[in-house]
Symmetry: C2
Subunit: 229 residues, 2 copies
């Protein structure tokens, strides 16, 4: 049986037979029929991760918000717009062996979406009240029964990257956090490269700046090792 597993891994990749969920892209949270709040996520990193996991033989479920990046081929693609839709799609995709939450989910949405366009009235400015969106990463990482064996979150930070991401890992209850600095000066958001720090129970591992496809390949390899351990 062990020999058989080794042979299957050599032929079909180390993640053959494993089901992995990847979320990607921004979410759009409607204010009214024509306006919405969005995040500056191109979906490039999440898309690259889905492709890298597929290349190692995984069966990938790819839940994506309205992202610019072309959808990866050879994976199951589920398109959503809001955080609430993403949560529903994620929960429906379980059980999975591993889940990578690369989407930039909006933390907040407008408390009461306007069903007709908010008119511009001289001197009167709109007041937007916000409410918290579901915390998909924390919810899945803390599921009593259907928790994936490996839960990976992302942290997009603009300052104190390692400290913020380490605190986030503990707060969410996930196994790993891939943290990056999205300050405009880094050129990472929307750019070809990424510079990440992998936060795990072993501490912070700084990866050199490399192409997003390389970050994805390295992460997929680590996920394969974790699931085979």
């Amino acid at each position: 049986a062990i020999l058989q597993a080794v042979r299957a891994a050599l032929v079909a990749g180390p993640l053959a037979g494993k089901r992995v969920l990847v979320t990607s892209g921004p979410t759009h949270e409607p204010i009214d029929p024509v306006r919405y709040i969005a995040n500056r996520s191109s979906g490039a990193q999440g898309t690259a991760i889905a492709a890298a996991l597929r290349d190692l033989g995984a069966q990938v479920v790819f839940v994506t918000g309205p992202a610019q990046a072309a959808r990866p081929e050879g994976v199951e693609v589920i398109e959503v717009e809001t955080a609430r839709q993403m949560r529903a799609a994620v929960l429906a995709a379980l059980p999975v062996d591993a889940a990578v939450f690369a989407a930039a989910v909006a933390d907040w949405r407008v408390a009461s979406e306007h069903l007709s366009k908010i008119k511009k009235t001289k001197g009167a400015l709109p007041v937007l009240e916000f409410t918290e969106n579901p915390d998909i990463l924390a919810e899945v990482a803390q599921l009593p029964e259907a928790r994936p064996r490996l839960v990976v979150g992302f942290a997009a930070e603009t300052d104190d990257v390692v400290a913020h991401a380490t605190a986030k890992r503990a707060r969410k209850g996930c196994d790993w956090i891939l943290a990056n600095d999205v300050s405009p000066a880094t050129g990472i958001m929307g750019g070809p490269d990424n510079a990440v720090v992998l936060i795990s129970d072993e501490g912070a591992e700084v990866w050199p700046r490399m192409a997003k496809a390389e970050v994805a390949a390295r992460l997929a390899q680590r996920i394969a090792e974790a699931l085979m351990a």
Copy 2:
């Protein structure tokens, strides 16, 4: 001289020698380095109008926000992101013979953009205060000296389309308003068709639902007639 003008028009199109400005697409108004407020504008109608004006021989300056639609060829393209950037680009493009403001400019922006990412803190929701964006259409329509001969605005409405658009035309001081119903049920936003009402000093003229390219061709023809009158 008249014969010469007629000959030029036959060869190079009725807008040969005319400079026309078209704005298009949404604007993005930053909340912090990763979040922004946007409009659901694909840029399809503005892009089609720029192409139609070019086809009638106009020299077109195309000022566009971050739109999905591919940029039109054979026109001068100026890319902007925010309403303030769009205003600056528009004023810099003057003088023009006609200006078509098809962009879905955000009416408001966040009063004080956060320079680092707003952190999610348990129980604490962000309060966003808004301030009015420049009203580019009204400003250009009321310019004392550099006002284009023909100023055309757009009105994206979800109810009482003609009444709202007629009031908007008077308030802005523009010559024409092309009004459309962008209620989600119409499928117009992001879709291939448009159904518009042209509001002028002669009242409201309802155009049948047609492809956005046909709306553009018809509008360009009307602009040519107005500039030749």
